[in-house]
């Protein structure tokens, strides 16, 4: 199992090798049904659960890609992870995640 965090070291372990920057992104869009529900919810205010779930799934997918990129290089941990979300079209969002792949012991 790969180790993930967003600080510059791994507590309790020592970094023995660096594999450089790894980055991954996903663009996800909702289907029309959920977007319609979101538009209705926007009348009343409150959390738009469909969108929250969409972005959570997109983030998990992006993280998964990040992890496979890192393990391909031989890393067993990714440090200094940062996220970025942007809206690319109404109802669609891009999640970008990047970090430093390292090997720890």
């Amino acid at each position: 199992m790969i180790l993930l965090n967003n600080i510059d070291h791994v507590p309790g372990k020592e970094i023995v090798e660096h594999f450089g920057l790894v980055a991954a992104s996903t663009v996800r869009c909702k289907h029309v049904g959920r977007d319609l529900a979101a538009s209705l919810k926007n009348l009343l205010g409150g959390e738009l659960r469909g969108y929250t779930e969409l972005l959570e799934e997109a983030r998990q997918e992006a993280l998964g890609r990040l992890v496979s990129m890192a393990t391909q290089r031989g890393a067993n941990a990714i440090i200094n992870i940062r996220f970025s979300t942007s809206s690319v079209a109404p109802g669609a969002a891009e999640i970008y995640v990047y970090g430093t792949a390292v090997k720890v012991r």
């Binding site: 309790g12 009343l44 205010g45 972005l55 996220f83 109802g91």
Partner: protein, 139 residues
């Protein structure tokens, strides 16, 4: 005439439901924040003294109601503070951080360090706030 009536009805519905939702959410946030037992901070000083760490995230997408959106568009003509949108983002930030810290607490962490917040606008009056940090454990 019918359109004006619909518009006024939507405004009223938005106002009533939006105000109720905002109040409910603030009460809920206060209740959950009181239950928190772990420290949270934006720096990572001393993190090397812990035994284990892992990335934790929390996110939420919150939208404004029709009344506040319309009001904001109107007030936009005059400039100045948009208190309703400020409250929206305040709630979203607190909710995202709470979700992240609740997850960390469930994992048995003692602190969440290096907390970062990221905000993105998805559509008019609707914003996503994401909070992420590193949960550290003693064992």
């Amino acid at each position: 005439m019918g359109e004006l009536l619909l518009f006024l009805i939507l405004l009223a519905v938005g106002y009533v439901f939006g105000s109720a939702e905002e109040k409910r959410h603030y009460n809920d946030l206060l209740k959950r924040e009181r239950k928190l037992r772990i420290r949270m901070r934006g720096d990572a000083l001393g993190a090397e003294n812990f035994a284990r760490s892992t990335l934790v995230t929390g996110s939420v997408v919150i939208g404004s109601d029709y009344f506040r959106l319309t009001l904001a568009s109107f007030l936009n003509l005059f400039g100045g503070r948009l208190a309703s949108q400020a409250r929206l983002l305040d709630r979203a930030r607190r909710e995202a951080v709470l979700r992240m810290v609740e997850r960390a607490q469930a994992m048995g962490a003692v602190e969440v360090v290096n907390i970062h917040l990221s905000t993105a606008k998805l559509r008019a009056g609707c914003a996503e706030v994401m909070a992420y940090g590193t949960a550290v454990m003693r064992t």
